[in-house]
């Protein structure tokens, strides 16, 4: 059963939700938000999409298998800790640069890893269950 209202609403909201999730991810360091919350918003967006349309449509939009997102997320998070570890500091010590006064550091990279892992894990779960019929 396909609901026209849900389908239309989700199509309108989907892009906004993804944008909002990225917004949450980036602002997390100073204001409420962060990779985990951002990842959850994105995951909800995709899940609504899957319910409104179909799991296959989500896979089309996503282009890659969500399982790769999990692996990529874990890899990014793991590697982000290595920058300073290579210099003999404890693993996961943050490394920072300040281009034009804007602090950019490996914790942001780590947060991106968290974001990807959360999106990938939830989607893996939801899509697998959606497709199991």
């Amino acid at each position: 059963m396909r609901s026209l209202i849900l389908s239309t609403a989700v199509h309108l909201l989907f892009g906004l939700m993804i944008l909002f999730s990225l917004f949450l991810l980036l602002r997390g360091h100073n204001l409420p938000g962060g990779g985990f919350v951002g990842g959850l918003v994105a995951a909800i967006a995709f899940t609504l999409f899957a319910i409104a349309d179909s799991a296959a449509a989500v896979r089309r939009v996503l282009r890659i298998d969500p399982r790769y997102l999990v692996v990529a997320g874990l890899a990014v998070a793991l590697l982000s800790g290595l920058f300073k570890a290579a210099a003999g500091m404890p693993y996961l010590t943050g490394a920072w640069v300040h281009p034009g006064g804007l602090p950019l550091g490996t914790p942001l990279l780590f947060d991106v890893g968290v974001y990807l892992t959360v999106v990938g894990s939830v989607l893996t779960l939801v899509l697998t269950m959606e497709e199991e019929r």
Binding site: H29, N30, P32, F36, T47, V70, P107, V118, T124
Partner: protein, 767 residues
């Protein structure tokens, strides 16, 4: 394992595998030979009374050092291990040249040799234990080399379980001993002397450590694994199960002699167990027709004899043990290798099917005869000196010289007979047709037995060489005091010589009648109700049954039951602790909270009640979701926007996912038949869980909250991590390792769901 019957083409050697196994063999040979030369060069230093040591820090925080310590005893063992190992590495690639995986075996053999050397040189008891278990594990792989064969697998597992379990018991003994004595260093323990005998934990320590030694050295009642371990290829048996690994237990007893010995308990346990093992094993040896099995039982007999002598305090008894250890290693290894040559050359090692091989295998015959004469204790072989010394030592055993003498004479007489059966009869008896036309072994196979047998003769002719260089320092380290040992072929006419003559006569008599004796032993064995091997099987089966029973009991597979148990445990454990520690406190005043919070609380309560009363599943899910929303709003009001946001989003996802899952389940109440009674049960549990959680929260918030960590984060978040949102800074920077663990859990959970779903689909398709 017979070399001739290879039916599996994938196991047959290719030219390439032959090359690698040969290469591995040479690596092992040069390593072993180099080590032998090294240890041999240390003989004069150690004989002068010095000890060598090397120390490496292992776990500095626990005070464990990987320290190695070489005194006379260690040096004797190290020489045997590396010296015999060199010949084994020459022999094995040729013996197994038809097998594809021979190189694998040789590599494990190298690992075994290193572990064994570590065992006999370790100064730290924990290190000794580690090496001990390493030899157990490598021997498991070696015994089970022919792993397509169910019997080999069973025997390997048996050896692993018996010696591994003994090793664990021994570890317990080591820990007790280490804490009683205040040191884990064997050298320091030895320096402390006999004070331990008065310690309250002396008897437990003694028994635990002896169980380890007895399992490894195949003493009664743990002797059954050793003959079964003959499933290993013959050179492996020659190395592990005659010369080295099984002597690990003997080494341990010798090492512990100055620490735990010298008490009546030590003397009685070792003398009785050793004597019983020696006699029973020598009788069982006669019973066998398989030459290798006969040798295996004589090994058990030798181990029993060694144990018996180590129970004694007298210098001459210890000297007998050390000399016999050397004698036995030389002739037993030679004979095992000879049996391997016979098997290789004729296709059988069954005594009745062998005879007249002397013409076809002249070199092997000479080696076998020399080894057998040393085993039987004929002059001028070292075996004769060893036997004389044994009788002298047995007379000196304080606890029970009569028992020791009787056991020694009986066992030695059987030994004479077995030596004749294994070392002489196949070569000199009337020729019989063998499965293959007998032929002499290649040089790399016969050089080992020939050298070892020749050493037995040479050392017998020049006894002071071994007496001063090897035996005397080893005896000194067993006794913990310098000891003069004189070995000689001729002692004059005395009691030991008389006993020797009696032994030889008895042995010859037994040999002449051995066929009848074997038959009657077989008949007797058939009438026995059970044996230890069978007991082992029964206990393994019982263990499996126990595991299956408790798994059925605990893992019912019903989710409701699991949840019930989990929550019940929480209620009982937490509630009980709160009661016992007097942690129950009701708040003194009515909490002063703003009106909206009361509204949220009402929302949560309404959601909870609705969840319980809901008639449809979807309604229950939505009601449960409203509970979560209410909690999230409360978080928000108390200034935790991050927590509130996460809670809200998780709640949304939870409702969606549960909806997806539950819509596929059977209708509400269908699966929960018979819920009437258990609904009350669930209700009580739910209320109990709520009450306990509330009480716990009240107890936790009662005391002043330590703000030290919070203050640190507040002060450093912006300056060190360039972030003003402390929660997120903690998540991705200060405590990023925790977060890493959490996202790993998230990922694993997702993949687990995929696995479960796919598994179900596959089962569906299969059915």
């Amino acid at each position: 394992m017979t070399i001739v019957s290879i039916e599996r083409p994938d196991l047959v050697a290719s030219p390439h595998s032959r090359l690698t196994s040969r290469f591995a063999g040479w690596v092992g040979f040069f390593l072993a030979a180099g080590l032998t030369a090294f240890f041999a060069s240390k003989v004069p230093v150690v004989a002068a009374g010095e000890t060598l040591r090397w120390t490496v820090d292992w776990v500095p925080t626990l005070g464990y050092q990987l320290s190695f310590y070489v005194d006379g005893l260690s040096l004797l063992f190290a020489l045997l291990i590396s010296g015999i190992g060199a010949f084994i590495f020459l022999y094995t690639p040729v013996y197994l040249s038809a097998y594809r995986h021979a190189s694998r075996l040789v590599v494990v053999l190298i690992l075994f040799m290193i572990s064994m050397l570590g065992l006999v040189m370790a100064d730290d008891m924990i290190a000794l234990f580690v090496f001990w278990e390493l030899t157990t594990i490598t021997s498991y792989i070696l015994i089970g080399f022919d792993h397509d064969n169910a019997k080999a697998r069973r025997c390997a597992l048996q050896a692993l379980l018996v010696t591994g379990a003994g090793g664990l018991v021994m570890l317990a003994g080591f820990v007790l001993l280490g804490s009683a004595a205040g040191t884990f260093q064997l050298s320091e323990l030895k320096a402390q002397g006999f004070h331990l005998a008065e310690h309250a934990a002396y008897l437990p320590i003694l028994i635990l450590i002896l169980i380890g030694a007895f399992t490894k050295s195949a003493q009664i009642p743990f002797h059954f694994w050793l003959p079964n371990a003959m499933a290993a290829p013959t050179p492996i048996s020659a190395y592990l199960h005659s010369a080295t690994m099984v002597k690990g237990g003997v080494y341990l007893m010798a090492r512990m002699h100055p620490v735990l010995g010298g008490t009546p308990e030590w003397a009685w346990i070792l003398t009785i167990i050793g004597a019983a093992t020696a006699v029973v094993a020598s009788v069982l040896a006669l019973r066998q027709t398989d030459l290798k099995l006969a040798l295996a039982y004589t090994t058990v007999m030798a181990l029993g004899t060694l144990t018996m002598f180590l129970g004694a305090e007298a210098g001459v008894a210890i000297a007998a043990a050390v000399t016999f250890l050397l004698v036995h290693a030389l002739y037993k290894c030679a004979l095992f290798l000879v049996v391997g040559i016979i098997d290789h050359g004729t296709g059988t090692r069954d005594a009745p099917r062998l005879g007249g091989l002397a013409r076809a295998m002249p070199i092997t015959t000479a080696a076998a005869a020399a080894a057998a004469l040393s085993m039987a204790g004929f002059p001028p072989f070292l075996g004769f000196i060893g036997k004389e010394l044994k009788y002298e030592g047995a007379l000196a055993i304080a606890s029970e010289p009569g028992l020791a003498i009787t056991a020694a004479v009986a066992a030695n007489a059987m030994m004479v007979a077995v030596a004749a059966i294994v070392g002489l009869r196949p070569f000199f008896a009337r020729p019989v047709a063998t499965p293959k036309v007998p032929h002499e072994a290649p040089f790399r196979m016969w050089i080992g037995p020939v050298t070892l047998a020749a050493l037995g003769l040479f050392f017998g002719l020049v006894p002071p060489l071994v007496a001063n260089g090897l035996v005397q320092p080893a005896v000194a380290s067993v006794l913990g005091a310098p000891q003069v040992v004189k070995l000689a072929l001729w002692h004059g006419i005395n009691l030991p010589l008389l006993l020797s003559v009696v032994t030889l006569l008895l042995g010859v008599l037994v040999y002449v009648r051995h066929l009848q004796i074997r038959d009657s032993l077989a008949a007797f064995e058939a009438r026995l109700p059970t044996d230890t091997d069978r007991v082992y099987d029964l206990s393994i089966d019982a263990l499996k049954d126990l595991a299956a029973w408790q798994t059925r009991l605990i893992q019912s597979g019903v989710l409701r039951r699991y949840l019930f148990v989990v929550f019940a445990v929480v209620v009982l454990a937490v509630g009980g602790t709160l009661l016992m520690k007097d942690g129950l406190r009701l708040p003194q005043a009515w909490p002063d909270v703003p009106l909206p919070v009361w509204g949220m609380t009402a929302l949560v309560l309404a959601g909870a009640v609705l969840t319980v009363l809901a008639k449809s599943r979807l309604l229950a899910i939505c009601a449960l979701g409203s509970v979560g929303f209410g909690v999230a709003l409360i978080f928000l009001m108390y200034g935790a926007p991050d927590v509130a946001m996460t809670q809200l989003l998780v709640e949304i996802l939870f409702v969606i996912i549960i909806a997806i899952v539950l819509l596929r389940l059977p209708r509400f109440g269908k699966r929960t038949a018979g819920l009437g009674a258990s609904r009350w049960q669930d209700g009580v549990l739910a209320v109990g869980t709520g009450l306990v959680t509330t009480a716990l929260m009240l107890a936790a918030t009662r005391g002043p909250i330590d703000r030290e960590i919070t203050a640190y984060f507040e002060a450093n978040s912006a300056t060190e991590a360039y972030g003003r949102n402390i929660v997120n800074v903690i998540l991705v920077d200060f405590r990023a390792l925790d977060t890493l663990g959490e996202i790993l859990v998230v990922a694993v959970a997702a993949f687990a769901v995929v696995g479960l779903v796919k598994l179900r689909q596959r089962r569906w398709r299969a059915s």
